[in-house]
Symmetry: C2
Subunit: 145 residues, 2 copies
């Protein structure tokens, strides 16, 4: 059994919730998608395997996965919420190309540290943060010229 499955089962058990086949399928799909995804992309992937699984169940399951830190919201794109699995991955931030939509992940230790300093300065207890840089990727800059 995968680590993320153990994690999710514990989370559910502690709260008296059930580990259903539907939730198992969704969990598996979430960790087999290795890019950022939105609900429709997830539904399409799941629909192929079990065409009874309803959108409502996906909408009901994602908040659970968020709450136990298996996934997180990333930048919104055209009004849609996008997600990525984070369990087993290091925290990182994002750059998004305004032309082609390409997402680049980066981690800058110094920025992480400075954020902690800022929080200390304001007596703010940080839970999470999100840094998104919008602009143009290398390829799209060339095309614009």
């Amino acid at each position: 059994m995968n680590d993320y499955e153990i994690e999710f089962k514990n989370y559910l058990k502690e709260r008296g919730l059930k580990f259903t086949p539907e939730r198992a399928l969704i969990l598996k799909a979430v960790f087999s998608l290795h890019k950022h995804f939105d609900i429709d992309q997830l539904w399409e992937k799941l629909h192929k395997k079990d065409n009874r699984l309803s959108r409502a169940t996906i909408y009901r399951t994602l908040p659970l996965l968020l709450d136990c830190n298996l996934i997180q919201e990333t930048l919104r794109c055209q009004g849609r919420v996008r997600y990525e699995h984070i369990f087993g991955h290091q925290h990182h931030d994002h750059m998004v190309c305004l032309k082609c939509g390409k997402v680049t992940e980066f981690r800058e230790e110094k920025i992480e540290k400075l954020q902690e300093e800022v929080c200390k300065r304001y007596n703010f207890k940080s839970v999470e943060h999100r840094l998104g840089i919008r602009g143009y990727c290398q390829k799209c800059q060339k095309k614009l010229r």
Copy 2:
């Protein structure tokens, strides 16, 4: 005439668009709100002065104000897009309290610099960035204890 009004008029003129009384009202309201606001708060404020002004006109005007950098989107709150006027103000980032919703603005020069470095490293041409830290403000931390 205010600087922001000159700015907006120039923007409109360059594009063959009109400076209408409705747009003037919206612009004025946007710069008289000194906190982050959403469309409904803006509509309420405007409705008092001119109850004919329609929501559609507000929805049509805000993208113009965004495009000429008079305002910017800030963090979303409960599914609603929130805005703040930025013309004449220095760029800053935000901390949001998950309990009381309090927004604290901060500017950390070193973080701004480091972001530029990261962009250079990836040959990414930055247009704008948004850093949001979610957590608990000083008051709400005390209440939780």
